[in-house]
Amino acid sequence: MNLLPLWLLVLQADALIYPAIIAPQDATLHIGASFTANCSVTATSGLKAEDLYWTLNGRKLPAETYKVLGATTLSVTLSQLNGSRQQSGDNLVCHSKEGGSILAGSCLYVGLPPEKPTNISCWSKNLKDLTCRWAPGTEGETYLHTNYTLKYKLRWYGRDNICQEYHTAGPYSCHIPKDLALFTPYEIWVEASNRLGMAVSDVVMLDIVDVVTTDPPSDVHVSRVGDLEDQLSVRWSAPPALKDFLFQAKYQIQYRVEDSSEWKVVDNVSNQTSCRLAGLRPGTVYFVQVRCNPVGIYGSKKAGIWSDWSNPTAASTPRNGRTPGVCEPKNGEHNNTLRRELKQFFGWMRKHGTCANLSIKMYDQWRVALQKSHKTRNQVLSSDKL
């Protein structure tokens, strides 16, 4: 390499002193705005305005945008600015033509002020906490880091409280874990702020008892109804976390056959904890899930919020003889498929069971294991593609 320019030697001796200064530093601008920055080299650097050039995010800016302002200052004017390329700010850098070295730099933050957050929705799990979610205005993209603060207060006499646990239920959410009052409405709102300004959502008013949800029903059991080929019986337990509260639970069941992703929903299950599914296909494995809506807690008149679905539970309906009107597969094909399936099943049996407890339940368990392994393999394949 050639001899280092004088300013580089200065930089090495006292590294924190840059040989030039950019003004203004770290500006925040609106998308579409114009902006002028000056790069002034120090007298000791031995450089002049003509020895300098500018880059924005590593790309050289055209000389037409430069203006020499005296012997040691070169300005650049940027017009119609786009939103910042990276969250950490665009890099506007002043270089020396000799070797392209960095003389000074400044960050630019170009974006939009935040929009008013909308669609605030909240729920309380088992009356113990409160989680709220919102949408970040119409577009959301401001190109600037936007901070969201969820605030809440008791309607008539409370003081403002700030929610502390963010991103617990998605990117625009916050969780209040404790110290919540019942039977007094809360006022809840979200403030969005960034370098260009602030926007406040409308205030939502709610009572905790009106927005209660619960855990999915536990102990979901699915079993056959004697030899009935088209029916299965589903039993479950009420959510234990709400056992001390008076409420009228509603339940929903959904079920699907093993090789379909389409769920059928049984909506008219009221406060009971068992249900019989009818009209099913004989000799078919079904997956069943249940969820709960704890309506009417402490006499609340609101619609309540459904819990998540329970984990799927599987069972098969008994086989019947030949199904009339259905084409049987060709003998050879059918035998081959059955043979292959039986071979897999016996292999699995050797690993997971003994002959002594051989029952149709083992076959159902194997089908569930098979389904899971297919699902895992599909997930691995799809993540490989990413």
Partner: protein, 200 residues
């Protein structure tokens, strides 16, 4: 075989040395990934030729082979102590100013910080077992950083990571050198450190 005659304490030294080298190799890989993502997230070019920055310990040293074992370990330890503070500063700047929403990135900085702390601890342990004096830990003020522009902070952070990457290479060589020196000084400490540096 020599290994069957090893003194139990020697074996302990060997283990400690081997562990340190393993950690250094892992760090080397993690720091270079971090450097790559750091440059990308700050919009900087990794090929920027950055000069020395005040307060960042330089791995490059004159007459490397002439340094004593004690001095070698001391300069390593002091460098990693300095990196603990510098990485903490980087993390703080990223969290508050530069990439406030990028939690995964902050976690990758934190993970390297933990490795640096573990390494400093292992180096201290090695100094004690080799009966070298452990230097006093100096806590340097970092207040002057608050006055810097954000671009300078980005550049400084990159220089810190570049230099840390260099140190992980130098430290493996340093440990290899120390192991050779220990071998030469005592037959009982033969094959003191089996781990060999991987030349790039």
């Amino acid at each position: 075989m020599a290994s069957s005659e090893r003194h139990p304490v020697t074996s302990q030294h060997q283990d400690s040395c081997r562990r340190t080298v393993h950690l250094l190799r892992k760090m080397r890989s993690d720091v270079s990934s971090l450097l790559e993502s750091y440059a990308k997230k700050q919009g900087l070019d990794q090929t920027f030729n950055l000069d020395s920055v005040d307060g960042v310990p330089l791995a490059d040293v004159e007459e490397w082979s002439e340094i004593s074992d004690a001095e070698r370990l001391r300069s390593n330890l002091q460098a990693y102590w300095a990196f603990q503070i510098l990485l903490d500063q980087i993390l703080e700047e990223q969290r508050t100013e530069l990439t406030p929403a990028d939690v995964a990135f902050h976690e990758s900085i934190q993970s390297v910080m933990l490795q640096v702390s573990a390494l400093a601890y292992q180096l201290e342990e090695l100094m004690v077992t080799l009966k070298h004096n452990v230097p006093a830990k100096e806590v340097k003020s970092t207040k002057d950083c608050d006055e810097k522009g954000l671009f300078e902070r980005k550049i400084r952070g990159m220089k810190v990571l570049q230099e840390l990457a260099q140190w992980t290479v130098r430290s493996v060589r340093d440990l290899h050198q120390i192991s050779k020196s220990v071998q030469a000084s005592s037959i009982a400490l033969e094959n003191y450190c089996l781990a060999q540096p991987q030349e790039k």
